[in-house]
């Protein structure tokens, strides 16, 4: 468990370093996804499997897809096909691929040895207790979060609308 945490943490630091030093946005995104997956594995070893699932689904899934959409929208033009061919060159995938494979091997090892996080110590927080806490003690926070998401939705819609002629 300890070793798994340190390996995943090292991968997270390495991938984050690569994120802030890349020049190409798509390459940085690949490394950021690896970094988020590594953080998800550390969540798993810390006894928070539900948070690990949320990290993969929402961060590495939804938010990164938004980034990819925007980068692809900004790249429209005649040279975008050439640039996309350059993005798909196999050499680009080696670094993130190797790091992600290490994470996958680690996760399979964790799951197959039934090293359930912090077994017997009572440190694991189950998704059930998280749900109960969210919808009883922190109900007000959940409502506020929903209002925040609604405000973000309206704001993004407003900012992304097409401007009519003469309107500044």
């Amino acid at each position: 468990m300890d070793t798994a945490f340190y390996i995943a943490g090292g991968i997270a630091i390495l991938a984050t370093l690569m994120v802030i030093t890349r020049l190409n946005a798509v390459h940085a995104l690949l490394y950021l996804i690896v970094s988020l997956l590594a953080v998800a594995v550390t969540f798993y070893t810390l006894g928070a499997p539900f948070a690990a699932a949320l990290e993969v689904i929402i961060y590495a899934g939804a938010i990164m897809v938004l980034f990819v959409f925007v980068i692809m929208l900004l790249n429209l033009g005649p040279e975008s096909a050439r640039r996309e061919r350059a993005l798909l060159s196999p050499g680009m995938w080696v670094g993130p691929g190797v790091l992600a494979l290490i994470l996958l091997a680690e996760f399979v090892l964790l799951a197959s040895h039934a090293w359930w996080p912090a077994q017997g110590t009572g440190a694991m927080v189950s998704p059930k207790s998280l749900g109960i806490a969210l919808f009883s003690t922190y109900l007000l926070g959940v409502e506020l979060a929903s209002m925040l998401l609604l405000a973000a939705l309206v704001g993004a819609l407003h900012l992304g609308r097409k401007l009519r002629r003469g309107e500044d």
Binding site: G9, T16, I20, L46, Y59, I63, F67, A118, L148, L159
Partner: protein, 103 residues
């Protein structure tokens, strides 16, 4: 067996500092947004570590809220990036400085 709290918090601190360095060093707004995501994620990691230290559910509750805030933030920020790319025709924030007083 258990991961020590110190190493967990140290990892969160390292990730946060890397994100901060990214915000300070990079001038492309996409990379600055990625660095802000890294910092939010490091804050969430610190909450999870603290929650695991005491075996309490509050750490994960705060992580869920951080996730919500990150989603809202990135939606608005990316809409602003698209707006900026249409208007200012650049992603370099040093060139989008029309508010700055011309000297």
């Amino acid at each position: 067996m258990m991961v020590s709290t110190e190493s967990g918090l140290l990892l969160a601190a390292i990730l946060f500092v890397l994100g901060l360095v990214g915000v300070l060093v990079r001038r492309n707004i996409i990379f600055m947004l990625l660095s802000i995501e890294i910092m939010l994620n490091a804050a969430g990691l610190a909450f999870i570590v603290a929650g695991a230290r005491w075996g309490q559910v509050e750490g994960q509750v705060m992580f869920v809220f951080i996730l919500t805030i990150a989603a809202a933030e990135v939606a608005i920020a990316l809409a602003l990036v698209l707006w900026m790319a249409r208007r200012v025709r650049t992603l370099d924030i040093d060139r989008a400085s029309t508010l700055k007083e011309q000297s």
